[in-house]
Amino acid sequence: MNRLLPRALMAPAVLSLFLWMIVPLVMTIYFSVIRYNLMQPDQVGFIGLENFEYFVTDPSFGTAVINTLLLLGSVILITVIAGIAIALLIDEPFPGRNIVRILLISPFFVMPTVNALLWKHMMMNPIYGVLAQVWLFFGATPVDWLSDWPLWSVIVIVSWQWLPFATLIFMTSLQSMNREQLEASRMDGANYLQQLRYLYIPHLGRSVAVVVMIEMIFLLSVFAEIYTTTGGGPGDASTNVAFLIFKQALLNFDAGVASAGALFAVVLANIAAVFLIRMVGKNLDK
């Protein structure tokens, strides 16, 4: 086998991915420094950093950044803590463990639009929704979740979808726990809390980092869940950066400003990516 063949075999995948990355990036950079509104095709020309200025000084921008961070932070916090708790709970065999596993995993395979509508209508509707019924049952006044707590509703919806992913990873990680070590610690009289503190949590450290970073990358650009439930509203109450860019591009037809925003989102995601890549890279050397 000559030396060219391995490269030739790699070429289609590498080249297509390279185009997929570089073409949009160059175009985005170009669009971000010109005047480019789909509704005003006659106005063109180089305008420097005006689009960036417009995007960043837009009053919606600050809200969108805060919403993005709140969404990201809350979902990660909820899924990591609940995920570890559930993984520990079902770590040891019990009757029906396999069924429990399958039921717990299922929400992750539900497409985001179904997930969002299911919660919007059947769970959170203030009159007929299940949550409203539960509230009434306990004598409380039902809440209009999507109007009164739009961002928190989105957080609940997204957390429900990502909890199975976190749980699954923690479950997988727990399977590689050193059972003899656990047994030995029990013999030495360690109680469950001590085992948790000195054995389980340190063992899970690495997978927590992985979950946090994977979720960071996916959750920075939550889109479908917002699109189908609140539409970013009321006002900008549940608009994140990804949705703001979408609004600029396809609702305001301002491709220039949207591109400036997109570059901002790329920078945000890359900060998270650098850490993840380092970690995976270390793993590759082993």
Binding site: A13, S16, L17, M21, T28, L89, Q133, L168, T172, A224
Partner: protein
């Protein structure tokens, strides 16, 4: 209480609690499935109905009203085509990386991973413009290309990690015996990696089927996938919960079952092998 009794009590409590948590978390999905078999009146009844005579009428209404089959066909074609195309691109690439390691292999793998980190919304405007100028807007071809490229890094990574476990000697032996590259693929590598190939394909099928960002932005009436069909039910006029549930049930049923089979690969694929 003896120690054994105490352990049994803890065990029972634990089991009960595990089931309680599971049923609570699964409840929304279970509720969706139940609602799919109710009439519209039963779906919004107060208090909610748990026991009722199931009906299948919603399923036929969904088909009549919104042409479910067209969207299902689009979903099926785009996800299967993008999975096959992705495998065709990723298989040789992963082969080359796993069995002909050079000092650049690691860099290339890392770079592929980094393309997956680009948020899709960052490429929205250029991809939209490109799709429009090339006539691929609202076409299945356009969606297949986009799905393939966004899944390609995951596929290369997963195949690579499967290939890595195969000893190079087996392939070398077949080469010594005069096997061509194609014969080597077909008769040696393929049988050895069938499991890895299947699980990679399965995971990508699930990811493409559920993909919502690109299908919402690049497709409409002609090439819309099930994800877009369901999104069209978000309008507030009228409460068609039973029909929405029936449509959702049909949209997620097959893929959730696929998902159960690919859950192990999901961990490896989505964490790029960092958790095994």
């Amino acid at each position: 209480m003896t120690q054994i009794q105490k352990n049994l009590a803890i065990q029972t409590l634990r089991t009960a609690f595990a089931w309680l948590v599971t049923l609570l978390l699964f409840f929304p999905l279970g509720w969706l499935i139940l609602t799919a078999f109710k009439t519209e009146l039963q779906a919004i009844s107060v208090p909610p109905l748990l026991i009722f005579t199931p009906t299948l009428e919603n399923f036929s209404i969904v088909q009549d009203r919104s042409d479910y089959l067209l969207y299902a066909q689009n979903s099926l074609i785009t996800s299967v085509a993008s999975t096959l195309l992705g495998l065709a691109l990723a298989f040789p690439a992963a082969y080359s990386m796993a069995f002909f390691r050079s000092k650049h292999t690691k860099d290339i793998l890392m770079w592929m991973l980094s393309t997956k980190m680009m948020p899709a919304v960052g490429a929205l405007v250029p991809i939209y413009v490109l799709a429009q100028t090339s006539g691929l807007l609202d076409s299945r071809t356009g969606l297949v290309i986009v799905f393939t490229l966004s899944n390609l890094p995951i596929m290369v990574w997963m195949l690579y990690s499967h290939f890595k476990d195969i000893p190079n000697e087996i392939l070398e032996a077949s080469r010594m015996d005069g096997a061509t590259l194609w014969q080597e693929f077909r008769h040696v590598l393929l049988p050895l990696t069938m499991g890895g190939l299947a699980s990679t394909g399965l995971l990508c099928l699930v990811l493409s089927w559920n993909e919502a960002f690109w299908s919402l932005n690049l497709s409409a009436a002609k090439s819309g996938t099930l994800a877009t069909l369901i999104a069209s039910y978000s309008s507030p006029e009228g409460l068609f919960w039973a029909k929405l549930s029936a449509a959702s049930f049909m949209a997620i049923g097959p893929i959730v079952v696929f998902g159960w089979f690919s859950q192990k690969q999901l961990v490896q694929g989505l964490t790029f092998g960092a958790v095994k």
